[in-house]
């Protein structure tokens, strides 16, 4: 009779009570609450998900003037800033109604040679100014290879209104490689340390003609 025993045990009693025991009301309420809590938690976690634009955001390392800021892939130091009313290149002199901000920086990299991308000046109000393209790239720091353990120095030139200077900072980054937008690119943001007073002083002390090609 043992051969038929499992089959007999598997058959439910017709008309009898259902096979599984129904849990009590408290346990069921608890299960429902736990389920709701889990769903709410899952939905809450969705709000933390990075949007595509945020995924593409760089990782910004901040620092102040004269300080070596290590962005892991490259290290950058902002040496000095100056203002100018005109820039003298090798062939011609360019003038502006606004003001030329000359940013002198030094950089080295960690593992590979890079060229620095065109830096961006971010005002206190969040406006962004790219370094001017009126100055040839060959006289900026972007032209120089930034290589491991070798400090190189150079300048970048911005053409901005004088009102953009107070509270402004400059962001340095590496150019995009290939067609793929790399997430978590390193970026160095250096506060120029200009308040209203010092910005006014800087503009007032602007050189008439600043030579971009140093002899």
């Amino acid at each position: 009779m043992t051969a038929t025993e499992p089959r007999a045990a598997a058959l439910p009693q017709p008309g009898g009570p259902p096979a599984g025991r129904r849990p009590g009301l408290g346990a069921r309420l608890l299960a429902v609450a736990a389920g709701v809590l889990l769903i709410a938690g899952a939905m809450g976690l969705q709000t933390l998900k990075l949007r595509p634009a945020e995924v593409a955001d760089p990782i910004v390392y901040t620092g102040s003037k004269g300080e070596d800021v290590d962005a892991r892939r490259f290290t950058l130091r902002l040496d000095s800033i100056a203002a100018a009313k005109a820039l003298q290149g090798s062939s011609k002199t360019i003038a502006t109604d606004n003001v030329f901000l000359v940013v002198a920086a030094s950089a080295k990299s960690s593992l590979k040679p890079y060229h620095l991308a065109t830096p961006v000046l971010v005002t206190a109000g969040g406006k962004r100014f790219e370094a001017t393209d009126r100055v040839d790239r060959s006289v900026t720091l972007s032209n120089t290879f930034v290589q491991p353990d070798i400090w190189v120095s150079g300048r970048f030139y911005f053409e901005v209104p004088a009102s953009a200077l107070p509270g402004a900072s400059v962001r340095f980054s590496l150019p995009q490689q290939g067609v793929v937008l790399e997430p978590y690119r390193p970026e160095v943001e250096i506060d120029l340390g200009l308040d209203d007073e010092s910005a006014r002083k800087l503009v007032a002390s602007a050189q008439d003609v600043y030579p971009t090609v140093k002899k």
Binding site: M1, A9, G15, A19, G20, Q147, D149, I150, V180
Partner: protein
């Protein structure tokens, strides 16, 4: 008109009707499933009128008191079970299909089957350890399956990212590096490459101090097989690498004769480079580059032929020259 039938077209009578005839006793049957006696005080206000009753808007049927026996509205015949036969009711295992009994067939098997050990009281209550033991592996199985599915999801996602990286960043190139012993030529595509790396005097007016060493790089290439005489492309990705894997770029130029169509077999063509490295690693950095697989006799239209370009393969040969 019988006395227990109401005249719907005459005004309602105030006094209770004569108690209707008692329905005949149900023949030994429980009430049909789903029907329960109305509780005390239930008036049946919302009960639907029985079949045959006129629509409500003409006259509302008088609510009946369920404490009284159910009034017989219509249909003098009470429900009567005709199938299955009342006698089979006691055999739960028997079929309710209206199949006529086969005369002479053996009687239906009794339920529960005779001769079997008694069933457990309920499925949930364990007869010993068997069901409890069955429940534990099941939980374990679910847990293992959950972990496996999670891992699989992550793995598929990672594979997808890696695939994307391979195609977009490295473009599926397969780098084959050959390490060349010091002083010997490296050979790729039937071309021999000899290199010499030596410190040089820093040029005048440079911005670097003694922490930087200037290196002069001389490269000579010699075709040893006429079949490769048209491989005149400049090497690519020329760099100096130290043991830690850091890289310094090597700008170079072709000096002397520049091959335009074909190179002479056995003749040295020279390439000169100049690099700066930190003095600390000047003695250990090694030159590496990728000889080009370009052939000057490639028809221009072939360069735009996807199949022919893919037929060249994705292998990229890299030569790395030891210093000592």
């Amino acid at each position: 008109m019988s006395t227990n039938e109401r005249d719907w077209f005459s005004p309602e009578q105030r006094q209770p009707q004569q108690p209707p005839q008692q329905p005949p006793q149900q023949p030994q049957q429980p009430p049909p499933q789903g029907w329960t006696p109305a509780p005390e005080g239930y008036t049946g206000q919302h009960a639907r009128p029985g079949p045959g009753a006129p629509p409500r808007r003409h006259a509302r049927p008088q609510p009946y008191d369920t404490r009284q026996p159910r009034p017989q509205m219509r249909g003098p015949y009470p429900d009567q079970q005709v199938w299955p036969p009342a006698g089979n009711r006691q055999q739960p295992g028997s079929s309710t299909q209206p199949i006529p009994a086969v005369p002479g067939a053996p009687a239906a098997r009794p339920w529960p089957p005779q001769g079997l050990p008694p069933r457990p009281a309920s499925a949930g209550q364990a007869t010993g350890q068997a069901p409890a033991g069955a429940k534990k592996p099941r939980r374990l199985l679910v847990a293992v399956a959950a972990v496996a599915v999670s891992l699989l999801t992550v793995a598929v996602s990672l594979y997808d990212h890696h695939d994307f990286y391979q195609q977009q960043i490295t473009r599926g190139l397969n780098h084959i590096e050959t390490v060349v012993p010091a002083g010997q030529p490296g050979k790729v595509y039937n071309t021999e490459w000899r290199v010499a790396v030596a410190p040089m005097k820093p040029p005048e007016g440079n911005k670097h101090g003694p922490e930087v060493t200037w290196l002069k790089i001389d490269i000579a290439r010699r075709v040893v097989d006429p079949a490769s005489a048209t491989m005149i492309g400049d090497p690519g990705d020329m760099k100096l690498r130290d043991r830690a894997g850091r890289e310094w770029t090597v700008p170079f130029e072709v000096v002397g004769d520049r091959p335009l169509e074909r190179m002479e077999v056995g003749k040295d063509y020279r390439i000169q480079g100049m690099a700066i490295v930190p003095t600390a690693v000047a003695q250990e950095v090694e030159l590496s580059f990728e000889p080009s697989d370009y052939r000057s006799d490639t028809p221009t239209e072939d360069l735009f032929d996807r199949e022919k370009m893919e037929a060249l393969g994705l292998d990229v040969y890299v030569l790395r020259f030891r210093r000592r």
